[in-house]
Amino acid sequence: MQIIIQGLLLSGLYALIAMGFTLIFSVGRVLNLAYGAYLMIGGYVYFTFSQTLGVPKLAGLLLAAMVGCIVGLLKYRLLVKPLKGNHVAVEISTLILAVVIQAAVVFIYGDSSKILLPIIPGVVQVAGASVTYNLLAATIGSWVILIGLFWFVRKTHMGRAMQAVSMDTKGAAISGVDPDKINMVTWGISGALGATAGVFFASYTQLSPSMWVAPLIIAVAVVIVGGIGSIIGALIVAHIIGFMEVTAVALIAPELRGVFTMLLIITVLIIRPQGLFGREELQ
């Protein structure tokens, strides 16, 4: 029972973390290795405004999302667009960017990690498991965002255009969709999602200059195992990974927690490269 509750909560958070990464990967076909840095930026922005300057929490969250969005847009304009079409160059330059952002965080905030106060304080015992309102809020928040995103992609004009670009960029361009604009919007949304996830993730764990690696790995795992272009797939896989981690900790050995995720990535990539739910193979 504890495993189910903790697994559900953790998986919701993982799904949110992975979503922004999935979007970019599906629409732009590039791996944004600086994605983890969005989470870090979101967390630190929220920390600066809400915890240090005393801005209300919701406003802090919005500010974090805004900064994330701006960073996403800038990244698209300054890095991705000039390197158009060269996936390797985008991957490498985003990796360099992540290291640069890490250095900037160390420079501004120092090496030592910081703890975010819970967005909603308090704790409740459910069937012997301690559940913080904070994580509960993060999980509910991530479900709301996920459903909203699903609706956006399926029902709105912009969302459908995104889907079109994701499936066939040239075809979409011929039918009057501007792929550049769609990409721009996607990078912005991805940045905002990443930064929001970062606030939840950091309030659950901690803020530190190296915090970008762990969520990046989670996002990578979800995208690889889920396959590109599938929001539902990403959601299911986030749950597989979340439950696998919680089970590993509770029943096997806590120190092997991450090992199973890595093994899953490797196995799936070798056996079914298009991912469990993906519709195509990436070239």
Binding site: V213, I224, I266
Partner: protein
């Protein structure tokens, strides 16, 4: 092979300069060059695999780490003499190379990069958990036997190793084999279409890369005298290797060497002015801007400068500048 006189001349000049360096610079600088030499070896190893075939490896520290850890464990825990430990480490790394090769049978592009990243993370976690009595766990190991003492000896060893690796890889890449590997990077289908076994070619590239990585890793650990998982299986280490290869100029041999020297000296020369964290920020920014400006690397910049210099001097001397272009391309 298509060797020309200026190839010999340039290599001779390169070796001569490397041999004379200890007479010209201070010991502190020699120490910096030693790190640059090792980084150059790692970057060459990365380049042989990723620069040529286009299979981008984000897990190179995985291979280097196998070499380093194998040799460290053998000498420190089992008292194996270094002269046996290093070949054993290289063999182990080649086994690791085969492991990395397996996914390359089915996937490529970004997916391949990610699976190698997963390999690196996996071994990072396993090294700390499995048999910490052998690996030293999180703290790693210290007091590993070193091959040399003193900056000058360390320099000669690392420089000879680097020159031998660079020269042999350069010769190898000038054979038809090297051409075929580059062709895979451009269009794997057409290579297969022309009747060559891409699988065998790729396996060869992976094994060669692993061989160099293992060799470099083993010598590196016996230079450092210590090893820690956090220093090896680390995104920052990976970053330095890849950026060295790319900033210098991928798919050339001298490019990664130039890149390695550039990065190492950049970081060290910033030290007296910016002792703290801002050093890494500036360093990363310079790398990013340089890479964005010229993804083909410093070697391309040099070659452009060379060409424009010649064409300015005599506009009719096209032959000359062509030859100069070839010259730098060839290296």
């Amino acid at each position: 092979m298509n060797l020309r006189w200026y190839h010999f001349a340039l290599w001779a000049l390169f070796i001569l300069v490397m041999a004379l360096i200890p007479e010209l610079v201070s010991k502190g600088t020699l120490r910096i060059i030693i790190f640059a030499n090792f980084l150059a070896i790692f970057a060459i190893s990365w380049d042989v695999l990723s620069g040529r075939t286009g299979y981008i490896s984000f897990g190179h520290p995985f291979l280097i780490g196998i070499g380093a850890y194998t040799s460290a464990i053998l000498t420190k825990r089992f008292d194996v003499p270094i002269e046996y430990a290093i070949p054993a480490a290289v063999l182990m790394t080649m086994v690791g190379g085969i492991i990395v090769f397996l996914p390359a049978l089915r996937i490529k592009g970004s997916y391949f990069a990610l699976v190698t990243l997963a390999f690196m993370e996996l071994i990072y976690q396993l090294v700390q958990v499995v048999r910490p009595d052998l690996t030293g766990g999180t703290r790693g190991m210290s007091g590993i036997e070193t091959l040399t003492r003193g900056a000058v000896n360390g320099y000669y060893l690392s420089a000879s190793l680097m020159v031998v690796v660079a020269l042999s890889m350069w010769l190898l890449m000038r054979t038809q084999l090297g051409t075929a590997l580059s062709a895979i990077g451009m269009n794997e289908e057409s290579v297969r279409g022309s009747g060559l076994s891409t699988t065998r070619l790729k396996l060869f590239a992976f094994l060669t890369s692993a061989f160099v990585a293992g060799l470099g890793g083993a010598f590196y650990v016996h230079y450092l005298g210590s090893i820690a998982p956090r220093a090896l299986f680390d995104i920052n280490f990976l970053f330095t290797i890849i950026v060295a290869a790319l900033i210098g100029g991928a798919s050339t041999i001298i490019g990664p060497v130039i890149g390695a020297f550039f990065l190492t000296f950049l970081l060290e020369y910033l030290r007296p002015y910016l002792p703290g964290a801002e050093r890494y920020f500036i360093y990363g920014m310079i790398a990013l801007v340089l890479y964005m400006y010229e993804p083909k690397g410093l070697i391309q910049l040099f070659s452009n400068a060379w060409n424009s210099l010649f064409s300015r001097r005599e506009s009719a001397g096209n032959q000359n500048s062509d030859q100069a272009g070839k010259q730098s391309d060839a290296l």
